[in-house]
């Protein structure tokens, strides 16, 4: 007995379905949002905040977007690319969602990229990987937050032109997110007259930063750090313990001094300047409401992870208002990527032709305000593109930002 190809296909054509949840698409049916986040495992810190931000955003709209009810279906990707793919399939095929928000990590987004493409599922991503909106951009993907390099470009420009640093050391986690941020910083910093004289790469799971801090050259004007999560807080703490805090200024990438870890870092953080697409202190109307809600419901300031879904939600809401009927996915995606949305918590947002947001990037300094430690906005750069001031075609012709590209020409031993 052989299983012929035809036999398999005929069997597959199916007779009885075991578990199907099909619902006819009606104009008044709730809009289903598939939410990919990390609820278990080491990345759970960011994922939990994402869920808080998403829930608050919907709660502040009475569970409706553009007048229609919203059903939020949350999936735990556990920080595993395999699980992310399975959960995405579940959201798309079993739960029949209309749009996806998430996932959190770059490798998760890469694991589902071809699937979203094949399924034509509108996806509002928050993972920062550069190529998701550059060399491997998809018409079905849009990112309302920023790419890894987008804010690092700005930080470098500020460091070179306003802080007037000439010699810097850069340090970051030794994985793609750290590579991309540091590369972006190096490029703009050196194109504006600075020299990066030292690059340090602690492993992502380094137990201790002492050995790296001890290697930092004593004659640099500043150190740029691109850590994420608890690493930023631990590094800053150790930096102070080794006596460098007052002596060599520390500046950071978009997640290095996230609101989530500001209170823990305490006084060690004061004075640190970072560049991010968001700050809890932004005083536009949308953010005032959002930040107040986060403080009330979750007793924390919103940061990178909780703000991301809220921005994505605002983009989605504007798109639904434009199209009305979400069952036409192509139209919905087109609306997402072509609308100019003014009222998001990060400020006005529009998208470039690769699906990446062009919006404000804020320079923030950590300050103590009324007994709390906050990221005060000290400068705003409007309409920042993911390509900075470089022409898009030339930018894309270069290799993607990585550990060794752009090459660091001024390293000293």
């Amino acid at each position: 007995m052989t299983l012929s190809r035809r036999g398999l296909l005929q069997a597959g054509a199916g007779v009885v379905s075991l578990a199907s949840t099909s619902r006819a698409a009606r104009a008044d049916a709730p809009i289903k949002i598939g939410f990919l986040t990390v609820k278990t495992g080491p990345l759970a810190a960011g994922g939990i905040q994402m869920e808080q931000g998403m829930n608050l955003f919907l709660k502040q709209r009475g569970g409706k977007l553009a007048g229609r009810d919203v059903q939020l279906i949350v999936a735990d990707t556990a920080g595993s690319p395999a699980t992310t793919r399975t959960k995405t399939q579940e959201l798309v095929e079993r739960d029949k969602v209309d749009v996806l928000i998430g996932p959190l990590a770059a490798f998760e987004a890469l694991a589902i990229a071809d699937y979203i493409e094949a399924q034509k599922m509108p996806t509002l991503g928050v993972a920062a990987a550069e190529d998701l909106t550059q060399r491997h951009a998809s018409p079905w993907f849009a990112r309302a937050t920023s790419s890894s390099g987008q804010c690092a470009h700005v930080m470098a420009y500020y460091a070179a032109t306003e802080l007037k640093y000439k010699r810097m050391a850069i340090i970051g986690d030794d994985f793609a997110y750290g590579h991309e941020q540091n590369a972006a910083f190096l490029r703009v910093f050196e194109d504006n007259g600075g020299h990066v004289v030292q690059k340090l790469w602690p492993p992502l799971n380094a137990p201790d930063y002492g050995t790296y801090i001890s290697q930092i050259k004593s004659d640099v004007d500043g150190v740029f750090m691109s850590f994420a999560g608890s690493n930023g807080f631990r590094f800053t703490q150790a930096y102070a313990e080794y006596g460098l805090a007052g002596k060599i200024p520390l500046i950071g990438g978009m997640t290095a001094m996230d609101e989530a870890i500001l209170q823990q870092t305490g006084d060690d953080a004061i004075g640190i300047i970072t560049a991010n697409w968001y700050s809890a202190e932004l005083d536009n109307a949308a953010n005032k409401e959002f930040a107040a809600g986060m403080r009330k419901d979750y007793k924390v300031d919103p940061g990178y992870y909780s703000a991301g879904p809220a921005v994505a939600g605002a983009i989605l809401e504007a798109a639904i208002k434009s199209v009305g009927d979400v069952s036409d996915r192509a139209a919905l995606m087109h609306a997402i990527r072509t609308n100019v949305v003014d009222g998001t918590i990060r400020g006005p947002v529009k998208f470039d032709d690769k699906g990446q947001a062009i919006a404000n990037v804020y320079i923030r300094r950590v300050e103590k305000k009324g007994g709390r430690i906050v990221n005060t906005v000290i400068k705003t750069y409007p309409n920042v593109s993911q390509f900075w001031t470089y022409p898009e075609a030339a930018f894309l012709a270069d290799p993607v930002y990585s550990r060794d590209w752009p090459p660091a020409k001024f390293l000293e031993n």
Partner: protein, 312 residues
Amino acid sequence: MTGRVWLGWALVILALVAIPVVISSSFYLGIVTHALILAILALSLNVLIGHAGMTSLGHAVYLGIPAYAVAWLSTQAGWGPIQSIIVAMVLGTATSAFFGILALRASGLGFLMITLALGQVMWGIAYRWVDLTGGDNGIRLDHRPVLLGFDFTGAVPFYGLVATALVVALFCLWQLDRSPYGACLRGTRDQPRRMRMLGHDVWRIRYLAFITSGFWGSVAGVLYCYDYTYVSPQALSLPQSAEALLMVVLGGAGTLAGPVLGAIIITVIKTVVSSYVDRWYSLLGLTFIVVVMLMPRGIVPGVRAWVGGRRA
């Protein structure tokens, strides 16, 4: 007894054929496919744990290395699927041949530690050698392969491929267990000194088992890569190795059905149950504890004993 054995095999094949008929949802069929691929991995690890009595915590290496080989050859070198699969299988098996020489320097807990350390070294290399492996971003395949005229993009054809591989693996490993070599292997597990005294080359017997487990693990690795059309260092990680170990021990080491059952249970908890239960991770831990306490030798031997004293 022969009649009962043929009946058993017929039931297995019938079940595998019936699954895509009964489950028309491509999502759930996909989950079964994931589980069956991990079942092949668990079966390969079972050769070491169950038959040879050597517990390894680095088996994910045989999932990851062939997966990376297939991914890299398909995308970077532009090779066709048949060539990529052959090279991946050779590479995976060769790795086990090399690691076996290192790992068999010790036994028991030392063996466990060496396999763990080797696994961690391979993980570190995959993570750090970005030019080759893409680092933590991994390598993506554009699509599933077209082999021998079959396009395996659809859930059903790919399931068929995996189910076929599983049946072949089950059959080969079953025959291995029933063969004289299988008896020798069990002998080295239970009474290594006596086996030596009887003149058997215990090292060579164990080494062959190591290579066999590497070979079948590589089969799982190739299918794993095509299943997700994506590979990242997580495929080689310690949690992945631990998961494979748990599947074997949970289901019942030394049995044929045990690793398959363990793979299905753990996959179901991770993919299906996790959608309904927030604290599924605790549930997974609890499952291990409960099963080990109630059925110390695994579910399959435990159920057999419970059902009524048949040969365990």
